[in-house]
Symmetry: C2
Subunit: 500 residues, 2 copies
Amino acid sequence: MDEKLNELKSIIYEISDINKASAVLSWDQETYMPKGSINDRANQLATLSKISHQKFVSKEVGKLIAKAKNDVQKEAPDSDNSRLIKVLDRNYQKSVKVPSKLVLKMAKASSLGQQTWARAREKSDFSLFEPYLKKTVELYREYAMIFKPYDHIYDTLLDDFEPGFKTADVKLIFGKLRTQQIKLIKDIKDKPDIDDSFLFLKYDGQKQWDFGVDVITKFGYDWNRGRQDRSTHPLTIDFGMNDVRITTRINTKYLPTGLFGSMHEAGHAMYEQGIPLNLARTPLGGGASLAIHESQSRMWENLVGRSMPFWKYFYPVLQKTFPNQLANIKLFDFYKGINKVKPSLIRVEADEATYNMHIMLRLEIEIALIEGSIEVKDLPEIWNKKMKEYLGITPENDAEGVLQDIHWSMGAIGYFSTYAIGNLVSAQLWECINSDIPSLSNQIREGDFSELLSWLRKNVHLHGAKFEPQELVQRITGSKITPEPYIKYLNNKYSVIYDL
Amino acid sequence: MDEKLNELKSIIYEISDINKASAVLSWDQETYMPKGSINDRANQLATLSKISHQKFVSKEVGKLIAKAKNDVQKEAPDSDNSRLIKVLDRNYQKSVKVPSKLVLKMAKASSLGQQTWARAREKSDFSLFEPYLKKTVELYREYAMIFKPYDHIYDTLLDDFEPGFKTADVKLIFGKLRTQQIKLIKDIKDKPDIDDSFLFLKYDGQKQWDFGVDVITKFGYDWNRGRQDRSTHPLTIDFGMNDVRITTRINTKYLPTGLFGSMHEAGHAMYEQGIPLNLARTPLGGGASLAIHESQSRMWENLVGRSMPFWKYFYPVLQKTFPNQLANIKLFDFYKGINKVKPSLIRVEADEATYNMHIMLRLEIEIALIEGSIEVKDLPEIWNKKMKEYLGITPENDAEGVLQDIHWSMGAIGYFSTYAIGNLVSAQLWECINSDIPSLSNQIREGDFSELLSWLRKNVHLHGAKFEPQELVQRITGSKITPEPYIKYLNNKYSVIYDL
C-alpha cells in the first residue's frame, strides 16, 4: 500500500506546488505587478490552472485514489491518511463528473460576466447585466444537476464552498436568525444616534499602518512566515503555512478601514499559519472551509478587536498615536463609535448587527434563482423589497442595490452564506473558549492573546481541512452550527451600547 | 502544416508560461519572501522546473519539431518560424541527449557544492570545497563528452550560455585582448593615484534611489512594464517583455554601488522590454545570449554612464542632490574618481580596465580543468600566480582568491567568458552607433537618450534570440566579435584620465 499511497501523494504535492505558485502570481498581481503585464499574467495563471487540473483529473490519479480508498480502511477513520483520501476522493469525483465543455463555458461566462457587471455597475443599469446573469444562472443549474440525486439543487453549489453543507442546514440556521436580527435592528433604531464623527477625521496613513502592525504582532501573527502589503482589496493568501501574507487598505479619512481590515486578515492568516506541517502540500493543509475561515477572521476583528477589554489595553496607545483626533474622546465613546449600528445599503461597510441581513437577502435570492422560483429580470425589484424589509432602507439605483457585489458575475454562487455562517461560528467558538479560559477577558485587557491563540491552534487550526465544517464545530463545541450564541452575543453587546 | 506548427507553439507557450511563473517565484524570493518559506519555495520551483522540462523533452514535442523542421524549409531562413524551429530543435536535441540520471547528479552536485562552497569561503579553506569541485568537474566533463564529436570538449559548456560559440573563438579573442590590457594596466600603475575619497562619504539611501530612478527613466526604462526593488544581489528578471523588473542594492557609504547598479540592470531590462511581441512566449522572446545581454547592460553602465557627456548633463543634478559631499568636487575630478583604475582582488568591484583580466583568469582555469590539463587541488596556487601576472597583486587567502565566486560551485561552468565578451560587444556596437548617429555625444550631453535607445531597439532588441551572438554581431557591425574596439575605447578613455 505505502508505495502506491506515496505515488499518489507525490502527485498531490506537485499539484499543491502548482497551485501555490499560482497564488504567488495572484499576490504579485494584487500588490506589485506593473499594469502593462495584465494579459501575460492571465496567460500564466491560465496555464498553471490548466496543468493543475489536468494532473488531478487524470486516470492515474483516479486509480490511485481507488486503491488508496480500499487500503486506508485499515487505518483509523480520523487518521491523516484516511481523511486525505476521503477529501481527495470527494474532490476527484466532483471534478471528473463535470464535462470540460461545461467548465469552459462557465469560465467564459465568468470572464464576460465580470466585464459586463463592471460596465453595468458603472452605468447603474441592471438591464445590461441581466442577459449575462441569466446565462450564468442557467449554467450553474446545469452544473448543479449533474450531481443528482440531491435533497436540493442548491446543495451542490453550497458544497463547493462548505463541504457537506446542505441547503436545509442554511435554511434552518437563517430561519432562526432572521427574526431575531430584524428585531434587534428595530430596537436600536428607536434609540438615540451615536456620534462617530471623530472616526472620519484625518488619520496619518503610516501611523495607522504602524499601529495595525503592533496590534497583529501582539495577536501572534508570525512575521517570519508572512508579511503585510497594500492592495486595493484586502486579502489573505498563502503559499503554504510558512508563507501566509496579508494585504490591507488604509483610508486616511476613516480610521476603521485599515485597522479592522488588518485584524480581519491577520485572523485568516493565523489560521493558515497554525496548520500543522504534516498536512502540508495536500488539500488538508488549509482551512476547513470558507465559513470556518471567516469564523477566525471575524473573531479577531469583532469579538476581540471591537471589544471593551481589547480597547482597555489599546485605546491609550491609539490616543497617544492620534492625540489631535482622540485626546478628548473617552474610551466608552470610542467604543460606541466603532460599534455604531447604522443600516446601510452596502454590505462590506455593514456593522455587526446588520451584516448578516445583507447575507440573508443574497442567500434567499440565490436559492430562488437556482430553484427557478424567481426570474433574473425581477431581481432589482426583489432586492429593493427585501432591503426595505430587512434594513428599512431602499437603494436609489441598481449600483448601490443589486449590482453592488461582484460574486454572481464571476459565478461565485453558493459563496455568500459563508460570511454569515462564519459570524455564527465565531460566537459559538467564543462561548467555548471563555468557558475553557475563564480569565480571557482579563488577559485581553492586558494585551495578552497567547492563550487565546493557543486554544485556536489546538482546537481549530491543528485539524486543517480534515473535518467538514459541521463536523469540526460539533467536535469542538458539542453541537452543530447554531445561531443562538451569536444572537446572544449581539444582544448582550448592544444592550450595553444602546441601553436596550 | 499550420495546424501542427500551432500545436507545437501552444505547447511552447505553456512551457514559457511555466518558466515565467518560476521567474516570478524567484523574484519574490529575492525581494519580499519571508525567511520561513525557503524550503517550500524550493519545492515549488523544483516542481515547476520538472514539469517544464518534462513537457519539453516529450516524444510529442520531438515529433512536432521534426515535422516543423521539414515544413519551414519553404519559409525564408530568417523568418520567425524558421528561426524558432531552429532554436527549438537545437535545445531539444541537447535536452534529450542528456540522461536524466546525469541531470539529477548534476543538480545534486550543484546543491551540495553551493552549500560546501559557502562554508569553505567562510573558513577561507579551499580544501573543504576541493572534493566537491572535483566531482562537479568530473560530471561536467561527462556531460560535455555526450556531445562528441566537437572541436574542443569545452565547446558544449560554452554553447549552453553562448549558442554557437566555440572555444577557439574565445581563445582567439582573449589572446588578442590579454597583452593589450596587461600593458594598459601597467601604464596606469606608473601614473599618480586618483583621489576618489569623496565617493566614500555618507550618501543618503533614498536620495540615491531617487537619483537612480531619474537616470534610468531618462534612459527610457518603461515603468509601465517594470519596477525596481531592493535585493542583496542586483538582478534583472522578466516575466515576458511586458514585465521586466530590476533590483538594486544601495550602499550609503559608497555612491557608485547603487548608481551604476541601477544603470546596469536597466540596460538589461530595456533589452527585454524591446523584444517584439511576435516573439512572446517562445525561446526567441528574450535576449540573444548572456554576452549580448551584458553588452547592453555594460553599454548603459559604462559607455554611457561613466562617460563625460553623461556627467556634463547629470553632474549638476547630482551636486544639487548631495551638496555637502560634492559641491567642492569639480566635474573632471568626479569623472576621474568614478573611472579610477585600481587592480583589486575581487571581480565584482573591478573597474573597466581590470575587469576583463579577472574573467580571463577564470576562463583559462575553466578550460584547463575541463580539458584535464590541470588538477582541482592545484587551483589556489594557479589562481594566485595568474592574479600576480595579470593584476600584480596576490590574495592573502582562499576567500579573496579562488573561493570568491559562486559560479563553479553551482555548476555554472562556461559562463564567465560572457562577462568579458559583453564588454567587447558593447564597444563594437558603440562604434557603429556613433557612426550612425554622429551627434550622439551632444544628445547625451543634453540628457537625450532616445535616439540611442531607438538604435538599439531596431538593431539589437528587435531580433530577440533569433540569431546566435556571432551572427547577430556580424549582421549589425559587419564583422564577428572582436576585441579591437574595446581596446581602442579603453586606451582613448584612460589616455585622457591618466594622461598616458
